[in-house]
Symmetry: none
Subunit: 256 residues, 2 copies
């Protein structure tokens, strides 16, 4: 895997913008990891796996942001190549885990859970691998072909989340259904940033602008798709826990 | 985001003063993080989130103080630029979290809590972003315009804390009301330091004095607004826990 390239020459101002967006996402990921590790015991045992998985997602992403930050700094100061493959290594691990955590937080029967995971995880892998191949190929035409191919599993994931998940949720109470629909909107909104940002180097921007838009876009999308997503899933798991056990709701003060 | 600049030439004495104020705040933040992590289980579950959020606030701030400390040292010894944007990255994450933790520690019903958070968090973001733009613009006139604009959400935050919060607290017992009024005085006193310190480079000081006053001022204000504030909120959450549950008060020896 090799997505290393010489970064375009840019002003200190642009570099700091990119670098700070990476730093901000890094510390947000670390803080979210800590939050989830501390609080994973504050949901019923059946939802704990979901929160632990999300803690690991944030931890893994934080590690790769640490590497990106170092690679970015040395690419700028000593003209070494910037290694963007860290982003793909991150996604190939974390995106399937994110979807698994989402499904596990819903409190569905095991059979339905597995059914959803078997659809979502292979699609996520296909989406990322096709995106990676597109980034690796040379020529705008080829890149656009792989971009379009990568959008197919993405649209399939949205189909599963919007259509099949709704069917699976027909026996849940309304506050859960409401929160799940918010999760779907969050996933749709934040995940759509990736294919848009992906196209930046293909648009008619100069190298500096395209690079900055792409890196800042990925960083902010990662912060939303990992940190904000994790916190919504935590809230969902708390809500499901309170619904499953009135005693839990009482103890945790979730009744007011 | 870029607030990097060459620091003014200064004596070793002045540099050490600035550097030590940063080191002092750094270790106070780390110690407060540990204190809150250890003690977050010593309040009732409904107040725990507030203490965990404060632990993360201190953790995030400690991370940025670590970066500030490194940037300051290399700016002094090897003439690289000092990067002040770490302060803004810190505030943009921690100030909304501080206000959220304060509201969550009061034991208000969920509806009132959300009402306060929806007013306080956007105001805090507006305050910091306007302050940042002011720091970025060139010319005393422009800086003063953004300084004034940034004071508007600050005054609104104080209005919410002093007027609306008092109404929300009308059913609380007197010891809680007393502690909340102390929290408000602490917030007003420490947060007022920021707009004052902000003006330092605009006053007729020489570069060295202005730089030192500004950096020491921010460091000490951060120690008060994060460490001291967190400890008062912890005390408030303990008091509320004891009021809610006589059993908890007995167990924790809070009746004497």
């Amino acid at each position: 895997m090799n997505r290393s390239f010489t970064i375009p020459s840019m002003t200190d101002h642009t570099f700091m913008l990119v670098f700070n967006s990476v730093s901000l996402t890094f510390i947000a990921l670390v803080a979210t990891t800590l939050f989830l590790l501390i609080n994973h015991v504050r949901v019923l045992p059946k939802y704990r796996q979901s929160i632990v998985i999300l803690a690991l997602v944030n931890f893994i992403a934080a590690y790769f942001y640490w590497k990106i930050s170092g690679s970015l700094r040395s690419a700028y100061t000593s003209n070494t190549k910037f290694d963007e493959s860290f982003r793909y290594l991150d996604w190939i691990l974390t995106v399937p885990l994110l979807l698994t955590a989402l499904v596990k937080s819903l409190g569905l029967p095991r059979k339905k859970r597995l059914e959803l995971i078997y659809r979502l995880v292979p699609s996520a892998l296909a989406m990322i691998i096709l995106g990676y191949i597109g980034d690796e190929t040379v020529g705008t035409g080829h890149k656009l072909v792989f971009w379009s191919l990568s959008c197919i599993p993405f649209i399939y994931i949205l189909y599963v989340l919007f259509i099949q998940l709704t069917r699976a949720l027909d026996q849940q109470i309304s506050s859960v259904v409401l929160l799940v629909s918010r999760v779907r909107i969050l996933v749709t909104a934040t995940w759509t940033v990736y294919p848009v940002v992906y196209l930046m180097p293909l648009l008619d921007y100069n190298g500096e602008t395209a690079f900055a838009l792409r890196q800042c876009g990925y960083s902010l999308a990662d912060a939303a798709a990992k940190c904000a997503f994790s916190l919504v899933i935590y809230r969902l798991a708390r809500l499901n826990s309170a619904n499953d056990s009135p005693e839990f709701a009482e103890r945790e003060g979730l009744n007011d």
